[in-house]
Symmetry: C2
Subunit: 440 residues, 2 copies
């Protein structure tokens, strides 16, 4: 059975193409005052009542009736059991994925400047930076339908590679339903402690600490609108990662690939949720027709066809471009989370890309390989934020301190300069502090 | 004339020392609903009316009556003129400071992982990250009393070292009063364009763009409560740096230094504003008394004595500790913006410090040298955020894209793993996209 899925078509030659394109990218900001007010109340209660508030909210929202927060902790033994009880196939797949993610992030630690450095000037003055891992990190893992073991690996492993001593995971288990793949992933990733709490109350517990749940220095991981609002509110008390928007894929294709593959790659983005966005840029009108035919043919076979269809109808774009050079320009304007380059020599086009969360090169690099096991992180900047932000990485779990040791000789020359500039800014104590170190 | 400045004393042996200390550190969050509402209105008007809104707000708040936003731009020629008209002493001081800040950040670019990297696996799969500078950055520079040319250098130079093509500076000039040192610093730092606008309207112009003012990808730089609220609101549309709290200094001292130097270093923090915080940790009770005496003696000489006195009375702490080891533990709990270690062998204590924005080692390294010309950045994490964040640096003006090129052979092994994991998460299109690349 073939159906016709109407997908919006654009051409780069259309009048007003650029504003039309940018308008199709943006979603109204989810800025819900009711959610924010509820979250403020939850944060306040957890801050003032600690464990008692956690017990009450967990009873109210997840229907878990326990007498102490300690009962909400999952022991390491239980995590290990979850892992040991996986099927051999699942165990092997999780092991391989974890090992590849670890290898990639270990390389990243070496290459991405996660080490201390220092240099010495002629007069003996020494300058540099000291790199230190964060002490303790919290990972939020959603419960229910969006419970992804792969996200546990992608959030916890970079923290451990960075040298974070203690990784605390929170995951809601409504009605006590535990996801054994998620717990197994926590075991493999080396998560130190797991609490079955969720929502804004879990974010509050991690940010402020309670008697039982230790406070952390940074909270990462995806969550619903309440979790996102809570993370925004505690930012400053703790660090947070980016607040993610709906997932997006942009495919640049020169038409030299099986159109079924392109259709399935578009589906794999669309199946995440109705707001996910899938876009194809291609110079070949005939190939675009073939992709549309593949979409029509393949959709009825997909178990998540309703989500996919809604996403494609409302948010997908099939865009005809002049040539691959123009496709690269448009890709830079879109700054997509996932960018697939399906073309004969993908590197020639990748070189022209300035803005993308991840670039998947060549016909064999389906985005789904990157989601699970290629190695790079699948937590990526959405909603055009790839213009200024990066994939989650080891660098998100370290921080730097400037190291400054001015020699006595150095203080003589620098002291004159600082004194002049401080007087220029009207900060005389700054000037005097420098002048006191000058030899009389 | 000697006055007695009452400064709070603590001892690490006091009952409830730790909670008392932490309570003295925190300030009530400046979370002003009226300011936020005013800012939301300004952002909306600039977003919808562009240049016209900028002209209206600049007339209203800065009393500048011009007919076009173009008239609010300061030409490069005018920046150069401001530089050429400096006194030889000021010119030389700014030149030296800029050169030292540039040299340090060039070294940082090399050491702190601001380069692309890639590795190839046995089956030909290539993985890595591509580093790209941001396209365009906005720098907010306050007008009036807190107009600091040193801040222009510290914000603009790392952006330029990172390779940012266009740096746009905004600086309010109420009643048309221009600060020639600020403009000269913009010239030296290589700022590309300067607009004399300020407040939330300037943040909005940079975030959304107007006909005359180009939109940027990230906004950095300090500002008042309106500017801070506006930066929080536009975060996501553009990147922002941290929202800075009042400045702080923590001095670890073993008592082997002139107490006048310590007093002046405490003053140089306190003179910033009444909320600034200065703390001394010292194992030697007699030395603490000497510092108190130096404070009493030196304060009357200071032009900014009223600000200093208010800051010291309300927020300073003189803390007696058991020994320098304990001082390091307490320093880690405080996680200060500026940490001075005035001790015989400062490096032995610096090694124990995990959390600090900048560490100033040795008696000759006054914090004020770091503020102006040592080279490291003076934009540092405040309010205990050094637990999870870093000084402003070249790494804030680049971002990374993951690079993934899976070979045909790689797609065979990775495809199996991805398929298993995707089915485990109920994402069948992800699985199919991987399976399609498997050889039949």
């Amino acid at each position: 059975m073939t159906v016709a899925i109407p997908i919006q078509r654009l051409s780069s030659q259309d009048a007003n193409f650029k504003p039309k394109l940018l308008a199709s990218l943006s979603l109204p900001m989810a800025d819900d005052a009711a959610i924010d007010a509820a979250v403020v109340n939850i944060l306040k209660q957890v801050q003032s009542e600690g464990d008692i508030a956690i017990l009450n909210f967990t009873k109210q929202f997840d229907r878990l009736n326990v007498n102490s927060v300690a009962e909400l902790e999952i022991s390491k033994k239980d995590l290990e059991q979850a892992y040991l009880q996986l099927s051999p196939e699942q165990k092997s797949a999780l092991d391989i994925a974890a090992q590849r993610v670890r290898t990639y992030h270990e390389q990243q630690r070496k290459e991405a400047g996660c080490h201390s450095w220092e240099y010495t000037e002629k007069d003996g003055t020494r300058l540099g930076q000291k790199v230190t891992p964060l002490d303790r990190v919290g990972i939020y893992v959603p419960g229910g339908k969006a419970a992804y073991p792969s996200s546990v690996l992608m959030n916890a492993i970079p923290a451990k590679v960075a040298g974070v001593q203690e990784v605390i995971m929170v995951v809601p288990t409504p009605d006590g339903a535990r996801n054994s793949l998620v717990l197994a992933a926590a075991w493999i990733a080396g998560v130190d402690r797991v609490f079955t709490i969720g929502g804004a109350q879990a974010v509050a517990a991690l940010a402020y600490g309670t008697k039982t749940i230790p406070s952390v220095d940074k909270i990462v991981g995806p969550g619903n609108a309440y979790v996102a609002a809570a993370k925004r509110r505690v930012f400053g008390t703790v660090g947070i990662d980016m607040i993610a928007g709906p997932s997006e894929i942009l495919i640049l294709c020169d038409g030299t690939i099986d159109p079924d593959w392109i259709a399935m790659d578009l589906f794999s983005q669309a199946e995440h949720d109705e707001l996910a966005q899938s876009i194809l840029l291609c110079p070949d009108a005939t190939f675009i027709e073939k992709v549309q035919a593949s979409i029509n043919k393949l959709l009825p076979e997909m178990p998540r066809k309703q989500v996919i269809e809604t996403s494609l109808k409302n948010r997908a774009l099939l865009i005809q471009v002049k040539d691959m050079n123009e496709a690269c320009d448009i890709a830079n304007a879109i700054a997509a989370e996932h960018l697939e380059i399906c073309a004969a020599n993908p590197r020639q086009w990748a070189e022209k890309i300035r803005h993308a969360g991840a670039i998947f090169m060549g016909n064999y690099t389906s985005e789904s390989l990157g989601d699970y096991c290629a190695g790079p992180n699948h937590v990526l900047p959405t909603a055009r934020t790839a213009r200024f932000s990066s994939p989650l990485g080891v660098y998100d779990f370290i921080k730097r301190s400037s190291m400054i040791e001015v020699s006595e000789a150095g203080a003589q020359t620098l002291g004159q300069v600082a004194s002049t500039l401080a007087h220029g800014e009207g900060l005389q104590a700054h000037a005097r502090a420098a002048e006191m170190r000058l030899k009389k």
